[in-house]
Structures are given as C-alpha cells and as structure tokens.
Amino acid sequence: MGTVVTGAAGDDVHVIGIRLVEMGLRHAGHDVVSLGALVAPAEFVDAARESKADAVFASSLNGHAQFSLAGLRDALVEAGMGHVLLYGGGQLTIGRPPWEEVVALFVDRLGFDRIYDSDVPIEQVLSDLEQDLALRGESR
C-alpha cells in the first residue's frame, strides 16, 4: 500500500471524479493526501515531498490539462521526487482526439507514467497502481 497525493490541476474545479478515485484508493488501503480543486504544480510537489508520496494523481477535465500539467514532472524531478509515479485522468483534451495523440503528449512528452480516459473503471486504476508499486518495490 502506498501514499497518493490527489488533486484537480490548475484552474480546474472538477473534483467529483478525483474524489471518487480517492474513495477507491482509501477503500483499497492506500493513504490519500487530497488537495481538492485548483491545485498548482508547486502544491502537488510540496505535498508529495511532505508526505513522502509514492504517487501523484492529477485530474483535469476542463480542457486545460496540457497547460496546467505541463511542468509537473520537471518540478517533481527538481524537488528530488523524480521517482514518484505520476498518473493523469479526467478529460485531458478538448474534444476527443485519437487516444494515441493524448498518450504521445502526456506520457511521451510530459512524463506521465499512466493516463486514463474518463471511461476507465476505478478498479483498473487500482490494479495498475498495485502493479507499479510492486515493481518499484522490487527495483529499489
């Protein structure tokens, strides 16, 4: 079980989805540091450092994700938290472009470990996290 920092990024107030994810995380036995709405990159980083988090779950629905999540991985690296798992979800784009494009942007370029479409079942996220945490445990 790990510690996860959660929040809706940047100027985003859509919190319902990430709160459901939080409920799922707690249910599965993880510790959750919930930052709520309108979370700036620095706040994610600070909370991750303070809580010695294993993962940061950043949510974005309002279409601004590519701006509001842009510096997050770098900021984590700078703060010496480069190893933290970074997951993104919600509606990461305006409209619904092909999923490969979304992955290319957020995973390949912005350094997310995993991103999710809004149709993802929470169980899927939980099992991915478990796997990733296990892998990290082994590799450390």
Binding site: G24, A37, G63, I94
Partner: protein, 478 residues
C-alpha cells in the same frame, strides 16, 4: 461620475482591478444607456412576461472568446435554436481576475478565435459588447462561475446584458477552493447592490439563482435550501427578480415535487423577510452531471428533462447540449438540442402539470419541504436572521454541507445515493438538521435498495453517480 451608490462603497477597489475597463464605466452615461435599451432585451422582464403568458423559455449554454465567434454562436442559437434568452459564459481567466493575461492574448489574436473557454467580458471594450447585445437583439444572461464577479458584472450590465447567474454559495462551494464564505458573500453582495442600482434606474437586472446542487444525485431539500438562502442574501440588497433552479435528478415524481417545493419555499421565505414584490420563476436545468458520450442517448436525456420540467410546471429550461459528454458543443448541435426540447415543450404546452394528487409527488413534496425548512431555519438561527452570516456558520458546523464540493469550507460528510425507484436519498446525513421522520424515510428507502443488491454501499454510491449517463437510473443487474 455620480456619488457612490448604496452598497457599492467598494466600487473604487473593484474598478482598480483593471483600469482600462474602469475608464469606460461612467454611471451617468450607463443610466441613460440602459433605460433606452428596449424592454424585449431585458431578461427579468421577459421572464416575468413569460410566466404571465405561459410561454416556456429556453436558454442554452455558450461562451466563446472572440467577439465574432461568440456573436456567430449566439446568432445560430437564436435563429436555429428557438432560444429566448441567450447566454454569455465567461472564461476562466476572467473568473480568476487575470485581466492582464487576457489582454496579452487579445493583442496576439486580434479578431480571431481565442484560446479561452468563455467570453472575456472585462477585456472586450464596452462598445463591442453593446454591439453584441444589439446585434443579437435578445435578452442576454451573464454566466459566471466565480466568487469575485464584481468587475465582470459592472462591464456586463453597463453593456445591456441584463441578468447574471448567482452565486454566493453555489460558486463558492463548487468553483473555489480556499475562498471564505464571507468573501464570496461580500463580493456577490456588491453585484446584488449593483443590480439594484440598475433597477432604480428603471432597468432591473435578473438573477438566475443556482442553489447548492452539484452534479451527482443531489437532494432537492439541500438544493432548495441553498436557493432560498441565496435569494434572501440578494433580496436584502434589493434584488427582486429570481429565476430559481430546480435541476433534473432523474426520478420524475421527485423532480416534479422538487420544482414545486422550491418555488413555494422561496416565496415563503421571501414573504417572511418582508419582500412582497419579488418575481420568482422556476428553471429546470438539464442534468448537470456526466453525460452520455453518445449524442443519441443525450437527445433522450435532454428530452426526458423537458418532459419532467413541463410536468413540473417549469417556466424555463436551461440546457446542456447533446455534445456535453464529449466537449465544447458546436453551436449547430447546441441549437439542435434546444429544438428537441422545444418540440417537447410544444407538445406538453397545453397539457396540465402532474397534479399533487399523485401519491408519489405528494410524499416527495412533503419530505422536501420539511427538510428544506429545517435546514433554512437552522441557518437563519445561526446567522441571527442574517442569511449570509448564517450560511458561513452553517457550512463550518456542517448544518449546510455538500458532497463532492470543490471548496474547503464544506465538511463533505453528507453522502447520497438513489433508492430503488431512482429517487435521491441521503445515505449519510452528516450534521444536517434533518427531521427524524425524514431520516427514517431515507433510511428505509435505502435499506430496500440495498436489500436488492449484492453491492456495498460504497459501490452503490459510486455507480449512482454514473447512472443517468449510462442509462439505467438504478442499475438493473445487481
């Protein structure tokens, strides 16, 4: 400039938020301008008249950054959407007072489409927005999810935009994180005083009151308690035109009861506060939560909303588009959504509402009314009659509380779900002052639901958030 009008003592501070806008805001000139605006463009007047004549009004949601793009969109909604009231949704930058950023953007993009999720009402010149208003020649409502809408309201009303979505509690709870209740109430109080100033000039500004509802299965009593409190806060500043939301939650009888109960409660508490000249109209907003990604299913959903609203006696619909589940709708799809609703409105227009003789409607009405009164009375007690102060204390104590709030002012202890007929019920009352007999009703109903399913309460709560979007209001294969 004339002497600072009543309730606007902060005006200088507000205007200082963005001097280039402030320069255009001369109250004397504005007074002349708005009085000369034709009556058919005044939202409050159009709503009052529609209530008298029985015509049901439609308003879509839309807001684009560029003037031309926004004007074109509103024109499509007017000409192809049968819209009676046109929206002007404000962008996020403006809502967060980032006017300089918008100015830079405007300078870069000129007349073209802007990468903004709404119309930057403060940055576009006053004359430009006035042109917009006269070009589309329909009543326009500013839609602004913000806890500091003061300068935006100044610019909008001065341009002839004659209504605003309000907000002191709703926008605090769902659109802010660290803002205090006091701040939000004070900022919105300013807007209400400004609206009253316009009324005194002879050009009343309307308020579209949200209540507290969120985008999950949300109890009508709590929604309505928020609406009553927001109306009281605005009425204390002199506002008199309230278009109050009773949003679709899915169970027909409960939704019919909800609209009636909220209407009656708003009128009751306004009268109790000594306000006897208010005009209260009722809005059925389409489902405000997650939408089906499939436009065809979304057509079913919004048409269902239209039936439910008509059977409730709604005066107006404010509607999401059938592309809500996908992304910002294109104006054509938005207009098509309105036409589907209009067709239902037309069909049900001559037919009487669902009567309270229906047992289910009657029961829900009693339940909502009892809970709503219990909550509002407790809040007013906490505020010693002052609804703003009462709300602040109540949120702190959990006497007002909302699940899934964005704001940290909410305790978030309340949990809701659907019973086996899809009606919204409390699963956890948090610290809400709900009467005992009502508690028992909710608990019994949820017990019956849970008895029929193998799921945990947690799973039920989660799945109910998706049910309207998926289809089955209560999951079938449980």
């Amino acid at each position: 400039m004339t002497a600072t009008p009543e309730g606007l003592s902060d005006r200088a501070t507000v205007l200082a938020q963005y001097p280039p806008a402030a320069e255009q805001l001369d109250l004397a000139e504005i007074a002349d301008f708005v009085v000369a605006e034709p009556a058919h463009r005044r939202v409050a007047q159009v709503r009052a008249e529609a209530r008298r004549s029985g015509r049901v009004l439609l308003e879509p949601l839309a807001g684009f950054g560029g003037v031309k793009q926004h004007t074109d969109a509103l024109t499509v909604l007017r000409d192809k959407g049968t819209a009676d009231i046109l929206p002007t949704q404000v962008d996020s930058q403006t809502r967060n007072l980032k006017f300089d950023e918008v100015a830079t953007m405007l300078a870069e993009h000129g007349d073209g489409p802007l990468p903004l999720n709404g119309y930057p009402i403060v940055n576009h010149p006053l004359t430009v927005t006035r042109d917009l208003v006269s070009t589309v020649d329909r009543p326009i409502e500013l839609r602004i999810g913000s806890t500091d809408p003061r300068l935006a309201a100044e610019m909008a009303f001065a341009a002839g935009i004659s209504s605003i979505t309000a907000g002191p509690l709703y926008y605090l709870v769902h659109y802010s994180s660290a803002v205090t209740v006091e701040q939000s109430v004070a900022n919105w109080g300013y807007v209400f005083s400004l609206a009253s100033w316009y009324a005194r000039q002879g050009a009343p500004v309307g308020l579209q009151v949200h209540g507290l509802g969120n985008s999950t299965p949300f109890p009508a009593s709590l929604l309505g308690a928020g609406a009553v409190l927001e109306c009281l806060i605005a009425a204390a500043r002199g506002c008199r035109h309230f278009a109050v939301d009773s949003r679709l939650m899915g169970n027909l009888r409960q939704d019919v009861a909800s609209l009636r109960a909220i209407r009656d409660a708003v009128e009751h508490y306004l009268a109790q506060a000594g306000v006897d000249d208010a005009v209260v109209t009722m809005v059925r907003k389409t489902w405000a939560g997650r939408y089906p990604a499939d436009e065809a299913r979304a057509f079913g959903l919004i048409s269902y909303t239209a039936v439910s609203g008509m059977l409730s006696g709604a005066d107006e619909f404010i509607s999401n588009s059938v592309q809500e589940g996908v992304g910002i709708p294109d104006p054509e799809a938005n207009a098509a959504s309105l036409r589907a609703i209009r067709h239902v409105v037309d069909l049900l227009g001559p037919q009487p509402e669902l009567t309270r003789e229906d047992e289910g409607v009657e029961r829900e009405y009693a339940l909502i009314t009892a809970e709503l009164h219990a909550i509002v009375d407790a809040v007013l007690d906490l505020g010693e009659g002052n609804p703003g102060r009462g709300s602040a204390r109540a949120l702190e104590l959990g006497v007002l509380d909302v699940p899934f709030a964005a704001s940290r002012t909410c305790r978030g202890e309340v949990v809701t779900a659907r019973d086996s007929e899809g009606a919204v019920r409390f699963v956890d009352f948090g610290r809400l002052p709900i009467p005992d007999w009502c508690r028992k009703f909710h608990s019994d109903a949820m017990e019956r639901r849970l008895a029929r399913t193998a799921k945990s309460v947690y799973d039920v709560v989660v799945s109910d958030i998706f049910s309207i979007s998926n289809g089955p209001l209560v999951e079938v294969a449980e």
